[in-house]
């Protein structure tokens, strides 16, 4: 690991992102638009707060997974990854740079999303908005980590996108957004319990209901961060300096 290489690689990835205006629009604008849609959908019901606080965690997860897996796949298929491996760049330099760059993007995304939700869409949580943003960023990083890992198992961008219904959507279905987890059949709740997003969502729900951070919230955040570290470590294992 080299700090200088980590910093310049992070900068390079952010510059690539900056040149891609449409991706920025997707990352920042799409969650805002979709939350606004929810606002009008739930105009008469009291469900809005419960749903949006969860959605603030799901969008960063989904979008960061999408963007990161494609970005890393491009690095692998364009020959630049092989070239980087002939330079002093280390595997961890590269993976942490992706984590940092897209983590930063996730932070901007979560901040904008939460600001819009609280200021314009009248989102109300018992706990602090700062915890909502913090947990949303952690969920975004979970998307980054899993995206980096999954890109290793795809040969084309087409294949990378196909991980969405396999890796991402089941986590969204089982995270407690549609059916509370304790009301699921026992085996489904068991599956839900081992999926990291469920714990990220649980942490957000805790902020929605309690004024002070609860043990369950910290546990959920801890599990998500642990899953990010695990995913990055596994992704590092898939990077090979020498290839056939």
């Amino acid at each position: 690991m080299s700090f200088a290489i980590l910093a310049s690689t992070t900068g390079r990835i952010l510059r690539q992102l900056r040149h891609d205006r449409r991706s920025i629009g997707l990352l920042i604008g799409a969650p805002v638009l979709l939350m606004t849609l929810l606002y009008f959908m739930f105009e008469d019901g009291g469900m809005f707060d419960d749903v949006v606080v969860i959605v603030l965690g799901i969008f960063p997860f989904l979008l960061m997974f999408l963007v990161t897996s494609i970005a890393m796949l491009r690095e692998r298929t364009s020959g630049t990854l092989e070239r980087l491996f002939t330079t002093p760049v280390g595997k961890l330099d590269l993976l942490f740079a992706y984590g940092l760059a897209f983590g930063l993007a996730a932070a901007v995304q979560a901040t904008v999303g939460a600001t819009v939700a609280y200021v314009f869409l009248d989102l109300d949580t018992v706990g602090s908005p700062w915890f909502v943003v913090l947990i949303a960023v952690a969920n975004g990083l979970l998307g980054v980590g899993l995206g980096l890992l999954c890109s290793a198992f795809a040969r084309t961008e087409f294949q990378a996108v196909q991980f969405l219904p396999v890796v991402v959507i089941p986590q969204i279905l089982l995270c407690g957004l549609f059916v509370p987890r304790d009301q699921m059949a026992g085996w489904l709740e068991g599956v839900s319990n081992v999926l990291p997003l469920s714990h990220g969502v649980e942490a957000l729900q805790e902020v929605g209901l309690h004024e002070d951070p609860t043990g369950v919230m910290w546990r959920g955040l801890g599990i998500v961060v642990g899953a990010v570290v695990l995913a990055l470590a596994l992704a590092a294992g898939t990077l090979r300096r020498r290839t056939p």
Binding site: A4, I5, S8, T9, G11, R12, R15, Q16, H19, D20, S78, G79, T80, E82, R83, L84, F85, T86, T87, P88, V89, R241, R242, T243, P244
Partner: protein
């Protein structure tokens, strides 16, 4: 002459095919060595082994006294891949500055290399909008910017116009003059004449080695294309003879 790259009994299998069949060669330091051979002969595989990204089945590659691919070598080697490997969603300047930064070099070095490869006007342009030749030169600039002691260049002049090709070769000569070791693959025989030493490779085996003049006089022709053909025929005749004896 001191050896920069030593290849010993190198065998590489890619997929189900043996691409290099136990080849051995020495590349001397501070000169330009040309690696010539038809497409599919194993040139790129040999280069990948030299820069340390190729899984090898057996044999060794030693660069500057170290096993190929060792961490220390990555600071001293430059690799230009046959298909340009730069970020198409960055500008020329951003690309070259990034690769410079990996070797703790600054923006000034990057800008001067961009001028040397003739891309000063395109420095702020996205690589995706460049022509094929400009794209390759952007990639070449990223290899040159780090002032490597060993430069491995896989077909660096393909698609460049004659004037630029001339300039690039002057630049390679200049680098060798200052002590760098260059290995350049090409299939243009005219360029082979500019090399100090040549390695002719075909179907994963080395057909001949030596200076351009040496190879020409050995085969009794002034034309390297002809020389290559004669060497190949000689080899085929020999192997055919070998089969009869067996």
């Amino acid at each position: 002459m001191e050896t920069a790259i030593e290849v010993r009994d190198l065998t590489v299998v890619r997929g189900a095919r043996e691409v290099l069949h136990g080849i051995s060669t020495d590349v001397p330091r501070g000169v330009i060595t040309g690696l010539l051979g038809p497409s599919g002969s194993g040139k790129t595989t040999l280069f990948r082994a030299i820069v340390g990204v190729q899984i090898v089945s057996s044999g060794t590659v030693t660069v500057l006294g170290k096993p190929a691919g060792s961490a220390e070598l990555r600071r001293r080697i430059g690799y230009y891949t046959q298909s340009p490997s730069v970020y198409t969603d960055l500008t020329v300047r951003e690309n070259v500055r990034y690769f410079a930064s990996l070797h703790s070099l600054g923006a000034a070095e990057a800008d001067s290399v961009i001028r040397e490869v003739g891309l000063a006007e395109q420095a702020g342009q996205m690589v995706s909008t460049l022509s094929g030749g400009q794209h390759s030169r952007a990639s070449l600039a990223c290899a040159l910017v780090t002032h490597p002691e060993v430069l491995v260049l896989d077909e660096p002049t393909v698609g460049q116009d004659p004037v630029l090709r001339e300039e690039l070769w002057e630049r390679f000569r200049d680098l060798a003059g200052r002590g760098a070791t260059l290995v350049v693959s090409s299939h243009i025989m005219d360029e082979a004449n500019r090399c100090d030493g040549l390695i002719l490779i075909r179907e994963g085996s080395i057909v001949a080695e030596g200076g351009p003049d040496e190879i020409k006089s050995r085969t009794g022709t002034d034309d390297l294309d002809q020389a290559f053909l004669r060497l190949v025929r000689e080899q085929d005749a020999e192997s055919g003879h070998g089969k009869e004896v067996a």
